[in-house]
């Protein structure tokens, strides 16, 4: 499993796949203050990514993967700051 819960931190590591979406959603539904750590994420499946977009949890950024860093995380930042529905 590339998604795991460590205390109050949700770690998304390596290649996050579609099956990581459901536990991620569960953890965030249970406690929306949990931090999602993308430090070691190499790819986010669209299903995982859209949950982050929808629920806008606090993100810990990483530099492991250029695509995630350059294109995905900025979108989450915008989504968070603009609070767009």
């Amino acid at each position: 499993m590339s998604a795991r819960l460590d205390g109050n931190i949700i770690l998304l590591e390596g290649q996050c796949r579609v099956e990581d979406a459901e536990p991620l959603l569960g953890w965030l539904q249970a406690d929306s203050s949990r931090v999602v750590d993308l430090t070691d994420a190499e790819h986010l499946h669209a299903a995982v990514f859209q949950i982050l977009m929808a629920l806008r949890p606090p993100i810990r950024e990483g530099e492991k993967d250029a695509f995630v860093q350059d294109w995905l995380i900025p979108i989450l930042r915008v989504a968070k700051s603009s609070d767009a529905g």
Binding site: E22, L28, S32, H43, H45, A47, Q50, M53, D70, W71
Partner: protein, 663 residues
């Protein structure tokens, strides 16, 4: 191949044909809604059956074709020759794929690419049509590109690529995760991204109601890679993506890039020979079932008779009973035989309907104007005859387009209509069918045929000189007459008219040609209705019995010895004021003569080509219907023997090919 797949291929062929017919009809009569409805239904049904299997690229292309036809129905797009072309191309590809599926059970490896290309080309027609119907693209549709450009304008690499950009708007289907798609993985593989924006398509539901497996994303991106490179990334989701080429800072200049229409539009005959399925009118099967029922009754009465004979039945009654039973069974067997033959009968339509497109394609490639029509699609013949006609007819039709049709200006000068008329005609003639291809084109010049025949050594020079014009024209069927130099890639394919002739002769038929220089050419095939049963006449020669196909025999005659005149090395006789050459079958077969030449001769009057000839035999025996088996194996090359048949007494009857024996 499993049953489902086999049914699929049969059905798919019919639907492909239906769609082709309707699309061609639509081109002729764009105003008639029935054609459009028919084509739409056929493509829709075909797409549905494709969906049962793992043939995604085929489904993709057909889905796009269906959408285009749907848009035509809704008058959102206009019917023009581009639309017809791409629809036919898609259907043609579908037909080739069905052929491949039939042979290998799967689509060929390049199907993904091709399916995407077709879908793309079809959709570009759709977009063009939509653009014509509603000329302006809604503001919102280009607005997103502006937004993206603005968002990406601070990037140095964007400025460096001011030449052109590719804008992508990708709206994954809600259920795309179940199909195994990861839209972000696709986005990641887009080369040279310069801007990305991802939004939610629908407002996000409250956290507790989010469905993690329903995709609610819309992805917009700019890339400075080549258009084709971007297109390739999205080749499996063309229905969910729009890709535009954008000139830097000139969003008004967005344009869709259409298909790179492939020139190859060879009508596929793949699988025509492979198809061994037979579709049969249910009424014919019912008739067979009835006959089997009657057969059971006849069998029971025979059983009854057998039981009675055990009980010491009177001999006379027994004989009468057996005879009555035999007569009944005889009649039933004959009826059943006829019914089975009927089952094998199929209308010419099944192959004819494939020709309009072939002619259209050939004419299009050669830039000729052709007015093609067909008659006699309802004429029926044995399945093997009808199917065997496809290739030769295709060749002859292509010849008519390639060689028969003249340029329009020449036609007008000659007082003809601009379009060359080509008529494909089938009709019944006794127990034969006649299939003709006539054109009103330039005709065949006997002088140039003579010249070509001499150059190519088709026949001895002096013989060619002596030939009548009609005979000279027949030389086009001679082996070696068609040469590579006149074989275009269209009419040629390495097949000459001699191949057409041998294909027709294999079906038990004959070929003929009539042509008038400047007036047109008619190629005529005469074929037996069925090649299963052959009527033969048995003749006795030198103590042996041989069969001669009766359709070559015009009449029989007894010629008194005094009327046989020796002429040079040969003999001749006069029949009703005409002198006919006489050949003796014993000589043809190389058997030593046993008959007494002084007693006159029994003669079969036969037609050999256009001539009549008398064939002397020792005696006539009965006429019969036989199931002729062609010579196979090492006997296949035996000259003068058409085939063999097994007689009632177990002996083998050789069936002679008299025209071939005469040479």
């Amino acid at each position: 191949m499993d049953d489902l797949l086999r049914h699929f291929t049969v059905e798919a062929r019919e639907l492909v044909q239906q769609a082709t017919d309707d699309i061609l009809a639509l081109e002729r009569e764009p105003a008639i809604a029935a054609h459009l409805d028919g084509a739409f239904r056929a493509v829709h049904t075909l797409k549905g059956s494709v969906g049962l299997f793992d043939f995604a690229p085929m489904g993709l292309a057909l889905h796009a074709a269906e959408d285009l036809l749907g848009a035509l129905k809704g008058a959102e797009a206009r019917i023009d020759s581009d639309v017809i072309d791409i629809l036919l191309e898609c259907i043609g590809q579908a037909e080739r794929w069905v052929g491949a599926i039939e042979q290998t059970g799967q689509l060929p490896p390049d199907a993904g690419e091709e399916g995407y290309r077709l879908a793309r080309a079809l959709r570009s027609q759709l977009d063009e049509g939509a653009a014509q119907a509603a000329p302006m693209i809604p503001e919102a549709d280009v607005g997103w590109i502006d937004d993206l450009l603005a968002a990406g304008s601070d990037r140095a690499d964007l400025k460096a690529h001011s030449a052109g950009l590719v804008a992508i708007r990708y709206t994954p289907r809600a259920d795309c995760f179940f199909a195994g798609d990861d839209p972000l993985a696709l986005l990641r593989s887009v080369p040279d991204l310069v801007a990305v924006r991802t939004t939610n398509r629908e407002p996000w539901p409250p956290a507790a109601e989010i469905d993690p497996f329903s995709c609610n994303l819309r992805i917009e991106a700019l890339s400075c890679a080549e258009f084709d490179a971007v297109k390739t990334v999205f080749r499996f989701v063309p229905d969910q993506v729009t890709i535009h080429e954008v000139a830097w800072r000139d969003t008004a200049g967005t344009h869709e890039v259409g298909s790179d229409g492939s020139p190859s539009r060879e009508t596929s005959a793949v699988g025509a020979a492979a198809s061994r399925m037979l579709r049969i009118d249910a009424a014919r099967i019912d008739r067979l079932a009835d006959l089997v029922g009657e057969m059971v009754v006849a069998k029971n009465s025979l059983a009854h008779l057998a039981a009675l004979s055990d009980e010491g039945m009177d001999r006379k009654d027994l004989v009468q009973g057996i005879q009555a039973s035999q007569a009944a069974i005889d009649r039933l067997v004959a009826d059943m035989h006829r019914a089975v033959m009927d089952v094998r009968m199929m209308p010419m339509r099944d192959i004819f309907r494939r020709f309009p497109r072939a002619v259209r394609d050939t004419a299009g490639q050669l830039g000729k104007l052709i007015d093609f029509s067909m008659e006699g699609e309802d004429v029926e013949a044995d399945k093997s005859v009808v199917e065997g006609l496809f290739e030769p007819l295709l060749h002859v039709l292509r010849n008519a387009v390639a060689h028969g049709a003249e340029p329009e200006n020449i036609r007008l000068e000659a007082g003809k209509s601009t379009g060359t008329r080509i008529v494909l005609r089938a009709r019944r003639d006794g127990d034969r069918i006649i299939v003709e291809v006539s054109d009103d084109g330039r005709g065949i010049d006997p002088a140039s045929i003579r010249r070509a025949a001499q150059e190519r050594g088709v026949a001895p020079g002096d013989r060619i000189e002596r030939m009548s014009d009609a005979e000279a024209i027949e030389l086009i069927f001679a082996p070696g007459f068609s040469t590579a130099s006149e074989i275009t890639d269209l009419s040629g394919r390495g097949v000459g008219m001699d191949a057409v002739r041998s294909a027709i002769e294999r079906l038990g038929g004959q070929v003929g040609v009539q042509s008038l220089l400047g007036r047109g050419t008619t190629i005529r095939f005469s074929l037996p209705l069925t090649i299963v049963m052959t009527k033969v006449m048995a003749v006795r020669v030198g103590g042996e019995t041989y069969g001669i196909p009766i359709d070559g025999v015009l009449e029989t005659a007894f010629v008194a010895a005094s009327r046989i005149l020796p002429i040079q090395e040969g003999e001749a006789f006069v029949l009703r004021d005409r002198t006919l050459p006489l050949v003796r079958l014993v000589d043809l077969l190389g058997i030593s003569r046993v008959s007494d030449p002084g007693r006159g001769a029994k003669v079969l009057i036969m037609s050999a080509g256009d001539e009549r000839v008398g064939v002397a035999v020792d005696g006539f025996a009965e006429r019969m219907d036989v199931l002729m088996r062609p010579m196979a194996g090492i006997l296949a090359g035996m000259p003068g023997v058409m085939g063999t048949t097994l007689l009632g007494d177990g002996s083998v009857l050789m069936i002679l090919d008299i025209p071939e024996l005469i040479g």
